[in-house]
């Protein structure tokens, strides 16, 4: 086996909060972010919430000398907001858009329009196949009563499926992004357990940053501090996860985060803190086995809850639509009466007729659109539940095989002990 020097690899991940006309100091912050990336001597930068292509093109121009390779993942109406800047050439890029991503009528949350997805780029450095994933999951607006929880669980499930299925040949896997989940939340556990990815915060040899590795902190003037009070002033929802393989050992040498206000600058880079991780890729001979533990049961329950909810909403939409149709038919019938009435002429209430007609029509149209939308939601949830059931049955089979093998081995040993005694 030929030996060679280990490779150092620096990754940055930042949710840029680049919502033009809505986020504060957007343009100026992108200038700061550009300067930061130019200074930091990274191998790859994974950015989220770069909603506007103009901002991406601005960064691309600014970073062209140090990071000549870039990819901007486009999906949905204004998204996906995911951008990658790299020192090393990409050999390929692939995008997987999540099946569920909120509701179009929740305009105040707006996630649905973002076309959230997971993007993947392939790098090859000195013969090492490095698969880099960047993603941004649906936001958590209310932790006590998270109406989007089934959507977020489905996103976490699809994320782990995508990573697992597309990184079979990878030597190194890196995932960076805003998962919008706390470290012990169901989705994060599902992701880590099924992919075998490790959290750089827990594995880093050296850490320098916010307390507990928080990436959304009250010291940041852009954040809404009320939301963070129950969490002691900060939450950790942005991550850089990593995994080696049978041939390459990956260790996290250091992890650092920005800490809110940036010295010398009037405001921070974003409402999120930036994460920078430094990895060491070392050749190895030991195989890498990913242990699958079950968070799937819990996830399946959440998905089932979401499914019942979506089916109920679809049923309501259908019922309301039918009522609207009945009302319209009734109205037409009533309007037809004067046509057949012989005798006293009564004034026809045109205004009411048209208004009621318009109302019925509006009800019919909106319930039709909602019915279509909820049907798609139901399908996506059912599909995810089927995949989870498959995963559970696979674990059960593995468990059974292991149990039977163990029992068999015990039998052999017992009988051989017997023979020796005899």
């Amino acid at each position: 086996m030929t030996t060679s020097a280990p490779i150092r690899f620096r990754v940055l991940s930042l949710n840029c909060w680049g919502i033009r006309y809505l986020s504060k100091n957007c343009k100026e912050r992108f200038v700061l972010i550009g300067d930061l990336l130019n200074q930091e001597q990274l191998d790859i930068a994974l950015l989220q919430e770069v909603w506007c292509e103009k901002d991406f093109l601005f960064l691309k121009k600014k970073l062209s000398s140090i990071y000549p390779y870039s990819h901007y993942f486009k999906s949905g109406f204004i998204g996906s907001g995911l951008a990658v800047f790299s020192r090393h050439q990409f050999h390929d890029a692939f995008l997987y858009r999540y099946s569920l991503n909120g509701y179009p009528y929740m305009a105040q949350h707006g996630d649905w329009f973002g076309g959230k997805a997971v993007g993947k780029v392939l790098l090859n450095i000195n013969g090492l196949k490095i698969h880099v994933f960047v993603t941004h999951l649906h936001a958590e607006y209310c932790r006590e009563k998270d109406s989007y929880l089934p959507h977020r669980v489905v996103q976490a499930w699809e994320l782990q499926q995508f990573i697992r299925h597309t990184s079979a040949a990878a030597d190194v896997v890196i995932l960076g992004g805003d998962l919008n989940m706390h470290p012990d939340d169901l989705g994060t556990r599902l992701l880590r357990n099924y992919t075998g990815l490790q959290d750089s915060f827990s594995e880093a040899a050296n850490f320098d940053g916010c307390e507990e590795g928080h990436t959304h902190i009250s010291e940041n003037p852009f954040t809404n501090t009320d939301n963070l009070v129950p969490f002691g002033g900060g939450i950790r929802i942005d991550y850089i996860l990593f995994k080696g393989s049978g041939e390459v050992d990956v260790s996290c040498e250091s992890l650092s985060t920005t800490k809110g206000p940036v010295p010398g600058h009037p405001f921070p880079y974003s409402d999120h803190e930036a994460l920078t991780a430094e990895f060491l890729f070392t050749p190895t001979t030991k195989g890498n086995r990913c242990s699958e533990r079950q968070s799937v049961n819990e996830a399946r329950t959440e998905v089932k809850v979401g499914l019942h909810c979506a089916e109920r909403m679809r049923h309501t939409a259908a019922r309301t639509g039918i009522m609207g149709l009945v009302l319209l038919v009734l109205e037409l019938a009533i309007a037809a009466v004067p046509l057949f009435a012989l005798g006293a002429e009564q004034p026809f209430p045109k205004a009411s007729f048209y208004l009621l007609g318009a109302l019925c029509f509006a009800i019919l149209l909106s319930t039709l659109l909602l019915y279509i939308f909820y049907s798609m939601e139901v399908k996506a949830l059912q599909g995810t539940e089927d995949q989870m059931r498959l995963a559970l049955s696979k674990s059960l089979v593995t468990y059974s095989i292991l149990t039977v093998t163990a029992v068999h081995l015990v039998d052999i040993r017992t009988s051989s002990v017997f023979e020796n005694e005899i």
Binding site: K74, A93, L95, Y96, F162, A168, A169, Y354, M376, K379
Partner: protein, 430 residues
């Protein structure tokens, strides 16, 4: 080279035409399909257009002893219509829904509601890891003027990307389905050249079926003759594609299709013909990648990607024009809305009744809403087309690098994988 007896794998693929209340004799045909699958005992059956879950559950019950492992891929509003029945354990499943799939307002075509996708099942076949893909692409309604061509090109691209990226750990790869494309169409060439998948019809030792391997034929009385024009006898749009790996050599020993009417039955199984392929699987000690390509193949890949990219760019222009129209509709409706509002509030001489103004207002609102929804839809489509174009450009650049590398070092073994494999001190030398 291994000398043991090869294992065999029989794969079946059929577009079932299971549109309840629309397709003829749906229930009876499913009975026939169930009986056929029960008798034939294929290892894996890949079905498309199983739109109704009830039909899937009927087949599942009927085939519970012969094909105990099943998966039904759900997506879109009524789709995806893809179902897999297997004699071997299905270890995992993943669905990739195509980003573009027609338009919701094209109700008579209806593809948009189908949530077309590609499904992957990982099947354990006698200890070998088989990655089996089933898919159904957007239909071709008018070959002369295909308004969906860019959508179908994007679907082909996403299909090949999905297969490329998820088949790295596979011992063998099988793709079955209704591609709705002729063998030399751009999408098919793109798919085959970039994944290394081989067409069973061209690779098979023995073939028994319709002339030229047609899968949609005039002899089938469910098929409308005008759909086949200008191809009088039939067209080949359903496929079973295959690829081995370093561990396994895959050989197509036979391929057969149904030929329209079924013996002893009053009607065929579907408007499409069914494909059955029989493979021989040999454990290979050969570490060379099968289907190795050289500069010629890389050039071919580059050419076909360039052609596809041009098509996607054209689609992008067309969609941007559509989006502009939607925007004009919105603004027009807004302006028009000002008219009744002005007339209602200004004390002008014209005496329009309230109801007429109301009607005009309602029409404007509907136009505004339609314009907004269409704008949303077309913007989403534009994003997808741009993303596809960017990915194609990346692949093109990568191929250019490979070509340069190839030309410098002479011909070398390159497969359809998305990775460059240069020699490096980091790699273990065997």
């Amino acid at each position: 080279m291994a000398t043991e007896r090869p294992s065999r794998l029989r794969v079946f693929s059929l577009n079932c035409w299971g549109i309840r209340f629309f397709s003829q004799l749906c229930t009876q045909r499913y009975e026939m399909i169930g009986e056929l699958l029960c008798q034939e005992q294929h290892d894996i059956a890949l079905l498309q257009e199983v739109w109704s879950e009830r039909d899937f559950l009927f087949l599942k019950r009927k085939l519970s002893s012969s094909h105990p492992y099943t998966h039904y891929f759900k997506s879109g509003v009524i789709g995806s219509g893809l179902a897999v029945f297997s004699r071997h354990r299905i270890q995992d499943a993943l669905l990739y829904q195509y980003s573009l799939n027609g338009y919701p307002y094209m109700l008579r075509h209806g593809d948009w509601f189908g949530g077309k996708a590609v499904g992957l099942v990982i099947v354990d076949v006698s200890g070998l890891k088989a990655h089996v893909y089933v898919t159904h692409l957007h239909a071709e309604y008018s070959r002369a003027q295909d308004e969906y061509l860019s959508h179908r090109t994007v679907q082909s691209w996403e299909l090949l990307q999905f297969v490329r990226h998820t088949s790295c750990g596979a011992d063998l790869v099988v793709l079955g389905g209704d591609l709705n494309m002729h063998p030399q169409d751009l999408g098919n060439r793109l798919l085959r050249s970039h994944t290394g998948l081989r067409d069973c019809y061209t690779e098979t030792d023995t073939f028994d079926g319709c002339e030229d391997g047609h899968t949609l034929i005039a002899d089938n009385h469910f098929t409308k003759k005008q759909d086949l024009v200008p191809f009088e006898k039939g067209i080949r749009i359903d496929y079973i594609l295959m690829k081995g790996s370093q561990r396994v050599t895959m050989k197509c020993e036979s391929l057969s299709t149904t030929k329209g009417p079924v013996a002893d039955k009053p009607f065929p199984y579907s408007d499409h013909e069914a494909l059955t392929a029989e493979f021989a699987l040999l454990h290979s000690e050969d570490s060379r990648q099968r289907g190795s390509s050289d500069t010629l193949a890389v050039s071919e890949q580059m050419e076909v990607v360039a052609e596809a990219r041009a098509l996607v760019k054209e689609g992008l222009c067309q969609t941007e024009a559509l989006r502009d129209k939607a925007m004009h509709l919105m603004f027009g409706a807004l302006l028009l809305l000002l008219l009744p509002l002005a007339m209602a509030f200004l004390p002008c001489s014209c005496s329009c009744s309230f109801s007429t103004l109301g009607l005009l207002g309602a029409v404007c609102m509907v136009l505004l809403l339609s314009g907004a929804l269409l704008y949303l839809l077309f913007t989403t489509h534009i994003k997808v087309l741009k993303e596809t174009e960017d990915q194609m450009m990346l692949t093109s650049n990568d191929l250019q690098t490979k070509l340069t590398g190839c030309q410098l070092s002479g011909s070398s073994s390159l497969d359809g994988s998305p990775e460059i494999q240069p020699l490096s001190p980091f790699k273990r030398e065997e």
